[in-house]
Amino acid sequence: MTRPFIEGKQIRDLPEPPSRARSYATFNSVLACVACLVTAYILITSLIIVHNAYSPLPLMDSWSLWQLYKQNGNYLAFLFQQHNEHRIVVTRLVYIIDRFVFHGRNLFPLVCSLLLQVATGVWLYRIVRRTGEASRLSRLLVGCAICSALSSAQQFPNLVLGFQIQFTMVCCASCGSLLALTRAAERWQEGRDPELWFAVSCVSALVATYSSANGLLLWLVLLLFGLWLRLPFRFLLALLFDMILVGLFYMRDYHTPSQHSSPFEALTLHSGRVLIVAGAFVGSPFDGIRAVLAVPFGAPSDNGRVAFAGACGAIGVGVLIRSGILLWRRRDRYTKGHAALIHIAGFVVLTAVLVGLGRANFPLVAALDPRYATYGLVFWIAMGAFYWSFVERRLGALSAHWYQIAFSGVVLWTILGLAVRQPFWIRYSKAYGKVLNQIQAAIVSDVFDEPIWQASFPSGAAILGEADYLRQNHLSVFTEAWTTWVGKPVERLFTVDPARSCMGAFDSVTPIPSQIRPGWRVSGWAWDRLRQTGPGTVILVDPTQRIAGVVKNPVEREEIPLAISEVRSSRVGWTGYVAGSVPKTLRAYLLESDGRSLCALGAPLTLARGEDRKISTSNPGDQARDRLVQHGSSW
């Protein structure tokens, strides 16, 4: 039987003089408030980041679902097909639900992914609670640290891209699987049926396996954990049986992707590189702390970043190995919670080695890819919680003074390691959202502006058919009514407001001389005088009074409010596309707040084939530019 480390002792129970106890209690309340505030700050800022970086259109790897569908003609035929080195059946099932229930708007996978992060946090907390009794403040701080870590924006892609659900799913399923096995062992010790929890553990492991290739390693970790838990023989046999069966089924027709290194070659020829990648992978959450501490020293080289993260990771792995040995040698001193935490950390380290084996031919800095940060964070939560329980036990024998220092350390780590970098990620998400808006404008307008399409998928032309499929089936962004406006008579949808309650103009026009889908990129600015805001929507109308383009992406134009005092926001710029190759004259209109009235913006613009040009008509945009030139500012 395990002995609780601190037997339900609260801080206020410690034998201290009343006045000091009161001051400690006050300090503890302050610490609790700070921890809650920091956690709330990280949560809220991360939600803002998710909002900034959301797009209903597929991006990068998530185009693969539509590509495979077009190649195969049905969604089931490629369910098990490899995606790079993974078999992502679970991810594809989530996307199929998104396609048929939620019109492929990418929101369902994203929400699922965020909920999985919440579930991971809950599983980890429940495991931590099994390490022994702890004070209320301690529990609160550990909860805040878990919540802050799993919602921190250093795992940016995993928070904002639905397709990254494979990362959040494997973390959640592996923690859930180990927790379920712990529960099975507890029930068995209590003399109750453990089979159901054992089955839950196996199913979770299967979900992890078919979310990401490293999920295969979980079976080995479960078997070791089962041995530590001294589960009955039939459970261990079942785990071994499942491990072999799942492994064989997974490796059927498996091939190493051509761009990846051969694991055997990597192990024999580049073992040092594999270890560096693995160390940096585990230590990647410290890259954020390094960035904060290194501000006075300027931007470091990639090698410097890898070295720092690698050193942190090596320390972490060293401590894990030591803890693992102790866990096995002095089994009676540890709880099932301790063992589960060590096995979670072990799973992350095995994953890091696997990544190193498969990506030994990649640049070393790839190990610091933000999408790997979720694993690193789970590792450090597990290791931190493992040692925290011992710190608590030791402190229990000392004075409350040491409690204050230890608790303050946890809060400081949360602030320094996680919260301080959030503003950076907010700025990053805004820039990211701007690129997504440009991609959306080009795809919806059907103008093949190749560099922009390449920002969506490396070979931009390869997704033309998929974009057409989304348009024809009213999926993704094409569920929105504005995407169908082009070509319709403007008077059928809107009325022109003669009161002229807006200002703005065209600024530049760039021909897109694509052989495939030509057009023009036009930009300008607009200010809604009634609402005192920048443009929500700008409508471009051709001489036949049909809508030629719709612009929905306000962009920052800081020079405009500087030049025109009436404009009070910098989000007044717009950039859009007009498809076609026949020169024509365009008028731009601002769509007013009623959603029906249009307000004309400046003079018409004549589109022509040839060089890029800035518009030289006398309009407020030019006046703003002229003033900037006069003042020597950059344009």
Binding site: N74, V203, G465, D468, I516
Partner: protein, 165 residues
């Protein structure tokens, strides 16, 4: 007692194999559908990218030009195919011009012999009555004739000002 033991063994040993079996069944079902689809030989392949006015809007006034373009290839011979025929409401509207360069299609299929698979077709919209019309296209080549996807719906609107705009 026996039932409890059986339940225990089933939960321990049968859950994962049963799920794998279900997954295998799904995979085989999907592959069968795929084989059936790819087993039929519509070896002329292609697509109607757009039908409408020259910039691709699906509404064309009677004073305007109806433009239709896309790509077609023969999976055995490559591109261009022998003939691409355009039909409006099932009535022959004419043959499309072949040989337009389509690097995107070439890149997508990794087939250099698809590089000239583009085709385009234009006709005065005045030949059509105002209202909705369905555009269909067929491609013919050494491997046969196939209808290209998808059918496009266009709307012809009456030109009220005699095309003066």
């Amino acid at each position: 007692m026996k039932t409890a033991a059986l339940k225990s063994w089933i939960l321990c040993f049968a859950v994962v194999p049963a799920l794998l079996l279900v997954m295998y069944g799904i995979e085989q079902f999907g592959s069968t559908i795929h084989l059936r689809a790819s087993g039929t030989p519509p070896t002329e392949i292609g697509f109607i990218d757009r039908a409408g006015d020259p910039k691709g809007a699906e509404t064309v006034s009677t004073a305007g030009i109806l433009s239709i373009w896309g790509w077609a290839a023969d999976t055995a011979k490559g591109a261009p195919v022998d003939r691409v025929m355009v039909y409006v409401d099932g009535i022959d509207a004419g043959a499309a011009m072949l040989g337009v360069t389509r690097r995107d299609v070439e890149k997508y299929f990794s087939r250099s012999d698809y590089s000239n698979c583009g085709w385009s077709f234009q006709m005065p919209a005045s030949k059509l009555s105002p209202g909705k019309h369905t555009v269909t296209v067929t491609a013919s080549g050494p491997s046969g004739t196939a209808q290209l996807a998808p059918n496009r719906i266009i709307t012809i609107t009456a030109d009220t000002d005699g095309g003066r705009r």
